[in-house]
Symmetry: C2
Subunit: 299 residues, 2 copies
């Protein structure tokens, strides 16, 4: 098997996880949790989103969280920004990296950010320009790469076109999102192989959701193709907004465990990660759905 | 990607699933359930085990179940037998195929069937001879192929040796069990590649457990190597006897769904399968853990 020696995991639980949980978590608990995540060996944590609190009240304390966490050397602290207003707050809070986002499918883009795909580009371009001028690196998210809850199948050429437009703005990395967890290994193989002609693997990350249980199989295919950056959420925090009760992001702990077993290097201490998982579990008042969290609770 | 065109799924829920559930299911419900499974397009159902009821009270009604189900043409109805006494009951109940079982690791074999590996062979040989004389096909299970709850790592040569001994008895197929769900894709690739020099893929099946979430990734590797027979349990029924609350067999419905999405043929109607899942869920009085069952409950 041809596999990368080393993988980087980007923890998105404090943003993608918490924004999909109904409960409001105390700001103090978020700060504590992110500090624990920093100590687990993670090199990248997406700590919050500077989306207007009207849309995501769960993350209305974004500035306070970003300003209050203990920044650990060697860890990049990123945050989502939807527009210039969000960027302003993100710069005020001095995050290391900002993430912009849009969808590969017209209907999801319209539903999620209330604009057509073509009307989204100038908004994002302005954010990227300004962020770059402020010395920040910029990450892009493309949602619904492998399927859309409204449009169904998404044309690979449309995905590639959106990615080109984002890279042309000067972003540093792009994360390909299986937003509703419909990707299957054959499709992942097909899409990623097609993308090889256009983009460097160094600049792409995979963002799988485990809604239908295929996230680790999809990860495996991406690894076999040489991709080595993956987004995940500790414990599978967050669920799926499109299928009530179904899984959202692939669980960081299950991903770390699989990589360890496969002999692939990554920077994370699984025990410390699970401790951080138990902390956020008690804040939430409910168990996280990942296998490793389940096993560690029973142990 | 090099994948088999067609896959056969062997449903082990009525045996491997139910024997690991605490609740006793009414015999009538089991019969009803198996009849529903027969109508879902499955070509193989392991309906029970003729182990002494002292060990597995959940399946004490084995003869009644086997005699009362409606046998559908084209479906093979198998059952587990541990010894000659079990075989006698299985033949009385006229199952189509009997399955013998042992472990690849000494301690698990000792704990599970109270004999050393070498003392197990003559017992199984007698069963195989007698079953063959009665015109039955025989399946073998090897447990703890990828790891043992007592011994830890299991030597691949020991696995191959056990498999040779079973095939030498004249068994028709052998199922390689990841009994405690510890196999990882790199290991599966290594073990199965090594086995290719010894055995035909036509005679091997994979029996993965999803305890650590890697069952579908492991299945994917086996598919890439050309293996095309997989055991699974509807809804993930059964859990794992070694990790309370953790998953047992990979879920038939999640496996069927992945294969469908990958464009690999198999014989099962997912909707009918999920209906059968809802039936056994209400008999159990608790939800089954698979993703597809979860999604279909919320739909």
């Amino acid at each position: 098997m041809n596999l990368p020696k080393q993988v980087q995991i980007k923890e998105v639980g404090p943003r993608d996880g918490l924004q999909n949980e109904k409960q409001l978590i105390h700001t103090e608990d978020k700060i504590n949790w992110i500090n624990q995540l920093s100590e687990s060996g993670l090199s990248y944590i997406e700590i919050t989103s500077f989306v207007h609190p009207k849309w995501i009240p769960q993350l209305k304390d974004a500035v306070e969280v970003a300003k209050s966490i203990k920044r650990k050397e060697g860890v990049t602290y990123g945050a989502l920004v939807p527009n210039m207003k969000g960027l302003e707050r993100a710069l005020e809070a001095d995050v290391d990296e900002v993430s912009i986002f849009m969808s590969a499918s017209e209907s999801h883009n319209q539903n999620n950010i209330n604009k057509s795909i073509s009307d989204t580009y100038p908004v994002l371009r302005e954010v990227v320009d300004e962020a770059k001028q402020a010395g920040k690196s910029v990450r892009g998210y493309v949602s619904t790469v492998f399927g859309c809850p409204y449009d169904g199948a998404v044309d690979e050429n449309q995905v590639i076109d959106v990615c080109h437009n984002l890279f042309d703005m000067g972003i540093d990395e792009l994360s390909l999102g299986d937003t509703i967890g419909v990707a299957n290994p054959v499709q992942v193989n097909q899409v990623l192989t097609k993308m090889e002609a256009h983009f460097s693997k160094e600049q792409l990350a995979l963002h799988f959701h485990d809604t239908r249980g295929m996230a680790l199989a999809n990860t495996l295919i991406a690894l076999q193709l040489g991709y080595h950056t993956f987004d995940s959420s500790l414990g599978g925090l967050g669920g799926c907004p499109y299928a009530k009760g179904a899984s959202g992001n692939v669980a960081t702990d299950d991903l770390v465990h699989m990589l360890q077993e496969m002999g692939i290097e990554q920077s994370i201490d699984l025990n410390k990660l699970l401790e951080a998982g138990h902390f956020i579990e008690s804040s939430l008042g409910q168990p996280l759905p990942s296998k490793q969290m389940g096993i560690s609770r029973k142990a």
